[in-house]
């Protein structure tokens, strides 16, 4: 069964009544199917206008779930989104960026999802809607493991909410892969860094992806760095123990040991880029 609702109400109604898979950009959906036909009903949400677009509100930004990476790249957004935009540029090629959506990337919950570290570093929250209503969940809580989220089968991820707290903070995203383009990352890092008038670190968020079952923030390192002057050689303060909370695996792309090394180097490099 293939349903293509045109309103959010119809969409959540469809999800309520059918044990359906949600189809957005399709860039993960179809490759995962391979040659098989879908085994469950499909709810194609691409015609739901309410899920599109980016809007600015008094205390937050709202990124509609169906926003594509190309749309995000074209949007006028403050510097704290630079990391997310860098990540958007790394998601597949241009064709994928034209199709792939923010909601899809988050709900697919790959440990190597490029958008997750930058959104974690923005303290983003996801908005989930079902026939029973609307709820907000912190992204850090939403993704619970490799390809596992708190989204119930009857819920739709309708938007990502980014609080307007560190709008003019600098942000950087770095990704390491086996080649320069069209690559699944071996390790990636996003940093958002806000300073006070004395150029001391007021607020810093550091998120690492591809190095554990789900991307995670390096909270200890963040605390350790807060209050310190944002100046050259900030990178020298980062020690291997600061990334030991990561739990990378060996796979076809890299070994765990290399991932740990790479994560440390990327954190240092990104910090240096934010501070300089």
């Amino acid at each position: 069964m293939y349903l293509r609702p045109t309103t959010l109400d119809q969409a959540v109604d469809a999800l309520e009544h059918h044990r359906a898979q949600v189809l957005a950009g399709g860039t993960d959906f179809y490759p995962a199917l391979g040659e098989r036909l879908p085994s469950t009903p499909v709810v194609d949400i691409t015609a739901v206008a309410e899920l599109k677009g980016i809007s600015v509100h008094e205390t937050f930004f709202r990124i509609g779930g169906l926003t594509t990476w190309s749309e995000l790249l074209a949007a006028q957004l403050p510097p704290c989104f630079d990391a997310l935009k860098s990540a958007a540029r790394e998601i597949g090629g241009v064709q994928i960026q034209n199709r792939g959506t923010v909601a899809g990337n988050l709900c697919n919950a790959s440990p190597a999802a490029d958008s997750v570290p930058p959104l974690l570093a923005l303290d983003a929250e996801v908005e989930l809607v079902s026939i029973g209503g609307r709820r907000g969940v912190l992204l850090a809580d939403f993704i619970v493991g490799s390809r596992k989220t708190l989204r119930r089968a009857d819920e739709l991820l309708t938007a990502v909410i980014v609080p307007r707290v560190v709008e003019n903070a600098r942000s950087v995203f770095l990704k390491l892969g086996a080649r320069r383009y069209l690559v699944i990352s071996i390790a990636m890092v996003a940093i958002v860094l806000a300073v006070d008038e004395q150029r001391r670190i007021r607020d810093i968020r550091i998120a690492v992806g591809s190095c554990s079952a789900r991307a995670q923030r390096l909270r200890e390192l963040e605390q350790f760095l807060t209050g310190r002057p944002a100046q050259a050689r900030l990178d020298a303060l980062v020690m291997p123990e600061h990334v030991k909370s990561l739990s990378p695996i060996d796979d076809v792309r890299a070994t765990a040991a290399y991932r740990s090394d790479a994560a440390l180097i990327l954190v240092r490099r990104a910090l240096q880029m934010c501070a300089s």
Binding site: E35, L37, L176, A178, R179, R180, Y181, L182, V183, I184, I186, V252, R253, A254, T255, Y258, D261, A262, I265, L266, R268, R269
Partner: protein, 766 residues
């Protein structure tokens, strides 16, 4: 068969076969765009995958998921009843026992059964079926029930000859007796050396990764079989199909219209082509069988992995005294070549050499010829070894190579028709700014280290007969070129049309080049071994010259002048003494009466006592980030002697394409087999098997050429260029990495992970 009126006047055709290379060509040598460029780019070119025939069925193949297993039981009942299914073939059918012949360059090997119950590689064919739609075919495959008995598997060449390992064939795991070559006295050579180096190198299994996967469309009309396949070798496939199906050769027609990349993997009969023919015969309907990307990774050929142990010695003045090169290569599950060492014996002037190539079977897809087969792997080891020797005696690597450029073929002593390796090294080094780049080093605190490296290369090519080409000229001044060379994307059609244009003085737009088709084009050598231009350009030229001779004879009769006083220019007959009074071909009544003139051409035999080889040198500059192990190729420069450059655009495409492949070979490409558990390939897709993208290729790429004005090699003066461009790239990059970091990376590809581990190991050692 195309009806062609062939002139019976053959008396003066010998002259046409023995032409001197052009001195001042007006078309050949010009950077002209492809004659089939629009068709290929716009999508209007019809590749076999695009072909839709009335009532055509679609086939799919059931493949063994294990690297080594016995098919205990196969139940196709459910699949047979699945919607749309029209026919099934499996080992239960007599056709299942058909034996696919090896291509001519693999002299012998264990029989390759179409459906062997003993499956020796992941992806080995177990059964196949044809259905109304591709999806019905895929669905039905899933309904086939197979009971496998899994056997322990063998994945590494190093284990193949150890006791207790699984045996792939009852003849054992050794493909053939090791090939050994020796000259001089190795011990004496090592004794004379001032410096000795010893190292073991490894290359990874590389996949051809053609953009177009393998496809076949088969149709029977009575006992006549027509097969559309993208192939480099229509006649090889025709012969193999006829032999397998026990048909007269004339009952099999093979058509290769367009080829979407081959690099050597589309030059032999594949099982899928035979399966399409069998299913088409069973159903009496046309059948298309297109391999998926995953299938092409598993079963459509590869560059075999090699383990190469080298020991070399040199004097302080840079002369090589001895080289020992022992190679162990894994051909996969059936016979092919995985040689490397023998190549090194012909590279440099070295008096004392011993090489040995040993090839073994492993439980993985069979190798196939792959752009510079053997030579690319050999160069990875030898060219790094040369670098090590140069380093050890403190000599510049370019100078070291210059010191050892051979005067004649080091193995046979035969002279080359031309050899400009010295010039390639010198001109390339100068254009690259080698001397300066060699000295400049990044500051020690910068994690990004820069380095430059060089490697040289050689590729033996053979032209010559047998090949027949027909050029037909019409009274309106248009011409048709009929030849068996398939254009695999290299520009063969363009270059050959240019040869016709050169010889007949008619514009390129008025020349039609026929597709390679055993039904219409005469026997011609396959497109392989970098010899298309060497075989076909002289043949086409001879055919065109034959046309010209006949045409001028007709004109001489009508104009009442001796033929020698007439010339052919811009599609018109021009009397040499009155160039202002050209005559249109349509004005020649005899020509109009004859309707057309057909000229036949063959390539003249190879020059006696001479070898033909192309040479080159490539220079690479890299950046290595010692914190992450990332390597970026910043700049590549190639300087090649391929004889006359027929078309600078297609020549450059060959060299650049070769270098891009070389970047992949050096840095990213690698078949990864699951060592620990399943033995299966874990990156049989473009997601995890990484060929270079546009961003991995340096913007700064340059291709220089040296034309030796070789009048001996053939009447075009051209040597081969298709393969050599990829041979030196990877070792040049590895040598640049050494220059940047002081670390010799012996194992290809140099992944960031390997690089970082080697950097860490050095830190610990200090």
């Amino acid at each position: 068969m195309k009806q062609t009126e062939i002139s019976s006047e053959r008396n003066s055709s010998t002259d046409a076969q023995n032409l001197e290379p052009w001195t001042n060509p007006t078309v050949v040598g010009k950077p002209l765009p492809r004659v089939d460029g629009y068709e290929r780019v716009s999508g209007s070119a019809i590749y076999p995958a695009d072909l839709i025939l009335p009532d055509m069925l679609h086939a799919a193949i059931l493949r063994c998921p294990h690297p080594h297993a016995i098919v205990k039981n196969l139940n196709t009942e459910a699949a047979r009843k699945s919607p749309g299914v029209r026919a099934i073939v499996s080992s239960a059918d007599p056709e299942g026992k058909l034996v696919i012949p090896y291509p001519w360059w693999v002299p012998e090997g264990p029989p390759v059964l179409l459906f062997d119950q003993h499956c020796r590689y992941q992806g080995e064919e177990v059964a196949a079926l044809a259905a109304d739609t591709p999806y019905q075919a895929y669905d039905a495959l899933r309904l086939m029930k197979v009971e496998y008995e899994e056997l322990s598997h063998l994945l590494h060449a190093q284990d193949a000859l150890k006791p207790g390992q699984p045996l792939l064939h009852n003849t054992g795991n050794l493909v053939r007796r090791p090939d050994t070559y020796q000259r001089g006295d190795l011990a004496k050579g090592f004794g004379e050396a001032d410096v000795l180096v010893e190292e073991t190198y490894e290359t990874s299994c590389e996949i051809h990764a053609t953009v177009e996967t393998h496809v076949a469309v088969a149709r029977w009309e009575g006992e006549q079989l027509t097969v559309w396949v993208p192939t480099q070798a229509i006649y090889e496939e025709q012969k193999s199909l006829a032999a397998t199906l026990r048909l007269p050769v004339s009952s099999v027609r093979v058509i290769s219209q367009y080829v979407g990349g081959s690099f050597g993997c589309k030059a032999e009969l594949s099982k899928h082509t035979l399966i399409a023919a069998l299913l088409a015969r069973k159903t009496r309907r046309p059948v298309k069988l297109a391999l998926s990307r995953e299938e092409s990774f598993l079963c459509a050929g590869n560059r075999p992995p090699n383990v190469m142990c080298l020991k070399a010695g040199a004097k302080k003045d840079g002369s090589l005294t001895a080289l020992e090169f022992t190679n162990l290569g894994a051909v996969g599950a059936y016979a092919d070549w995985a040689d490397a060492a023998g190549w090194a014996a012909g590279s440099y002037a070295c008096p004392n050499i011993r090489t040995q190539d040993t090839e073994v079977y492993i439980n993985a897809g069979k190798a196939r010829a792959f752009r510079g087969p053997g030579a690319a792997q050999s160069a990875w080891a030898l060219e790094q070894m040369i670098d090590m020797l140069a380093d050890k005696i403190g000599m510049d690597p370019v100078e070291f190579r210059l010191k050892n450029v051979p005067a004649t073929h080091p193995r046979t002593g035969e002279p080359y028709t031309s050899i400009e390796l010295r010039e390639c090294l010198l001109k390339g080094a100068e254009a690259f700014g080698w001397t300066k780049a060699r000295v400049a080093r990044a500051s020690s605190s910068d994690p990004v280290k820069r380095g430059v490296g060089v490697a040289s290369c050689r590729w033996i090519t053979e032209g010559g007969p047998p090949t027949t080409v027909i050029v037909t000229l019409f009274p309106d001044g248009s011409a048709t070129l009929n030849m068996a060379a398939a254009d695999q994307g290299t520009g063969t059609k363009t270059i050959m049309a240019m040869v016709v244009a050169e010889e007949l003085g008619i514009p390129l737009q008025k020349i039609h080049v026929e597709h390679a088709d055993t039904g219409t084009t005469q026997y011609g050598k396959s497109g392989g071994g970098s010899h298309s231009v060497m075989v076909y350009a002289p043949a086409v030229r001879a055919a065109a010259a034959d046309v010209k001779r006949q045409l001028l004879e007709i004109a001489a009769g009508e104009l009442k002048r001796p033929a020698i006083e007439l010339s052919l220019k811009d599609g018109k007959i021009v009397p040499v003494r009155e160039p202002g009074q050209p005559k249109n071909l349509s004005e020649l009544k005899d020509l109009t009466r004859r309707e057309q003139i057909a000229g036949i051409g063959h390539p003249p035999p190879e020059p006696k006592g001479r070898l033909i080889a192309s040479f080159g040198a490539q220079f690479a500059e890299v950046e290595v980030n010692v914190h992450t192990g990332e390597i970026r190729v910043i700049r590549l420069l190639a300087c090649h002697d391929s004889g006359r450059v027929m078309n600078p655009l297609t020549h450059e495409s060959q060299i650049f394409g070769g270098m891009v492949m070389g970047i992949g070979f050096a840095l990213t490409e690698q078949r990864v087999l699951d060592d620990h558990q399943t033995g299966r390939m874990v990156n049989a897709n473009w997601h995890d098997y990484k060929i270079p993208t546009a961003k991995d290729v340096p913007f700064d790429q340059l291709c220089l050429t040296i034309d030796p004005k070789d009048a001996e090699c053939n009447s075009a003066g051209a040597k081969g260029v298709g393969e050599i461009g990829t041979v030196p790239t990877a070792p040049a990059i590895a040598n640049a990495v050494y220059h940047a970091t002081g670390i010799r990376v012996t194992q290809a590809p140099i992944s960031p992970m390997q690089m970082l581990a080697l950097l860490a190991a050095r830190r610990e050692a200090r």
